[in-house]
Subunit: 157 residues, 2 copies
């Protein structure tokens, strides 16, 4: 069995790619004080290992007309697999739901929804409560985005 390990250089490369994935390898090589070839090999290794999942374009929410972010906390009427499956299918099918998590505590699930305005939100909301049963639904509108990054800390790697 071959153990796969990653070092501080890999951490730094990941950190760079999480900010800009289009940066030329030669430039990354400069920043980590290596030549391009080994940097290229390290990136390939991290892709193969699955550390790097994808390279995506991030859009400006306001400019693509989905300036409104809403968090919805819900509780489930019963903790049964059948309900969960329907809930899961629902959120998967609604593109406005960009994130969803099952939580500890009083709120069973939290969802993050992006829409153009309140009217569009109500359409999503109506659809949700029509297709799946909830005991409580609690919506909080985001008035301001203070921080948003897809870059997670790599220092723990």
């Amino acid at each position: 069995m071959t153990e796969t390990t990653f070092d501080e250089v890999d951490q730094r490369i990941l950190g760079i790619l999480q900010i800009d994935s289009n940066i030329p390898i030669a430039e990354i090589a400069q920043q980590v004080a290596l030549s391009p070839t080994p940097v290229w090999r390290r990136i390939k290794r991290m892709e193969a290992a699955g550390l790097i999942r994808a390279r995506v374009a991030l859009v400006d929410q306001k400019l693509v007309n989905v300036p409104m972010t809403i968090f919805i906390g819900v509780t489930a009427p019963r903790h049964a697999m059948e309900w969960f499956k329907r809930f899961q299918a629902l959120i998967e099918d609604i593109p406005e739901v960009v994130e969803a998590y099952r939580l500890t505590g009083a709120t069973d699930y939290i969802m993050k929804v992006v829409v153009p305005d309140i009217d569009a939100y109500d359409v999503v909301y109506q659809r949700m409560i029509n297709e799946v049963e909830f005991t409580t639904v609690n919506s909080s509108i985001s008035m301001e985005e203070l921080k948003f990054t897809t870059a997670v800390p790599t220092k723990y790697l």
Copy 2:
């Protein structure tokens, strides 16, 4: 004044790039039934307009050793600019805080934090309450990520 408009083709191109930003222009061209040149021009136009903010690498949270996601809801002791500035600086300075929003409702702010484990979370937590005052702090651990995408709906564009 020149009005900048975007059509359904732009929507589709954005949708594609939000899933994979490394896909060759020639392939996008096929998918939207255009030749590469106009597709290239459309992408440049959307970049210039700021619709496309960045191209980033997404990493696997578990594989980079930050498998734990925690949501922290807080209320502020006073609604003063001085407090807000310190709070803002705090979250900006903590890489484990990947998202933060000011909300309507009972919870003033919600933060999303990613860490390796509970111990690492406590380090972040202690630092936060040491550096900034909060009236209430409410942490919910994510037991399961049901959905996570950086792709927002483009149909409203």
